[in-house]
């Protein structure tokens, strides 16, 4: 089981309570598709992803970004058993979506960067550490049911 300090719990709750899900979600996913273009392989049905401008303005990307970010809500509400919370989603990503688990880390990195840009100086090293630890647990849980 993952041990969380009081600081980590309150930091994660704080970040997600203040987050604009639509903006952060769409930005993080779009950034991921721009910075790591091979991740576009999973979005063949999303229409125009030909260049950065197209990706940033693509409504399907924006909508899906929000979906993905809301997926993190489960983990925020169940920090003491993220592994079990994501068992089903892990199976989905593995068996149905066939997503290489390394991509979870890429998206997590993009999300960290987007949160940093939204929080500015409030995104202290300690806050970054808490967020990255949380995201690492999420990433690991999503990769667990792969075989």
């Amino acid at each position: 089981m993952v041990e969380w300090t009081e600081f980590e719990r309150s930091t994660i709750a704080d970040i997600f309570s203040k987050l604009n899900y639509d903006v952060a979600g769409s930005n993080a996913l779009a950034r991921c598709l721009v910075v790591y273009p091979w991740t576009q392989r999973y979005f063949g049905k999303f229409g125009n992803l030909y260049n950065a401008a197209a990706i940033m303005g693509n409504p399907m990307v924006a909508a899906h970004g929000t979906v993905v970010l809301h997926g993190l809500d489960k983990a925020v509400k169940n920090m003491d058993d993220i592994k079990a919370t994501y068992a089903e989603l892990s199976v989905l990503h593995s068996e149905k979506l066939h997503v290489d688990p390394d991509n979870f880390k890429l998206l997590a990195d993009c999300l960290t960067i987007v949160v940093a840009s939204q929080m500015g100086s409030a995104f202290t090293p300690q806050v970054q550490a808490a967020l990255q630890k949380f995201l690492a647990v999420v990433v690991s849980s999503l990769g667990r049911q792969y075989h």
Binding site: V34, V35, S117, M119, P125, Q128
Partner: protein, 143 residues
Amino acid sequence: MSLSAKEKATVTDFFQKVASRSEEIGTEALSRMLVVYPQTKSYFAHWKDTSPGSAPVRKHGITIMNGVYEAVGKIDDITGGLLTLSELHAFMLRVDPVNFKILTHCILVVLCMLFPEEFTPQIHVAVDKFMALLALALSEKYR
């Protein structure tokens, strides 16, 4: 994954724009790395103080950014241009190359934090590629 002419221009322009805050960038990135990835402190056991913003961290942040700007200046041949720095890291410092990625990530976080408007995804990808090439150049002499 090499840099196109456009990306080289993007990287050069961006780093010129943020040059006045390069000390701040270096200090922040290094501070973060030591907190978020505590295993990196193992390379700085000789420092009295590894806490964010401390004197040795600030001094070293400047050194690192000097290296980054040297690479920007030699963007047409980063590997060739950084041979001496590579030798330093390979034979003297012997930093495990996995840490280059870690520091790069911290630099990107800081750039986006300090320059949220300017650090667009297009600039992000160009800088990320540049930093990857920088890391590769530093690893050149390792084996």
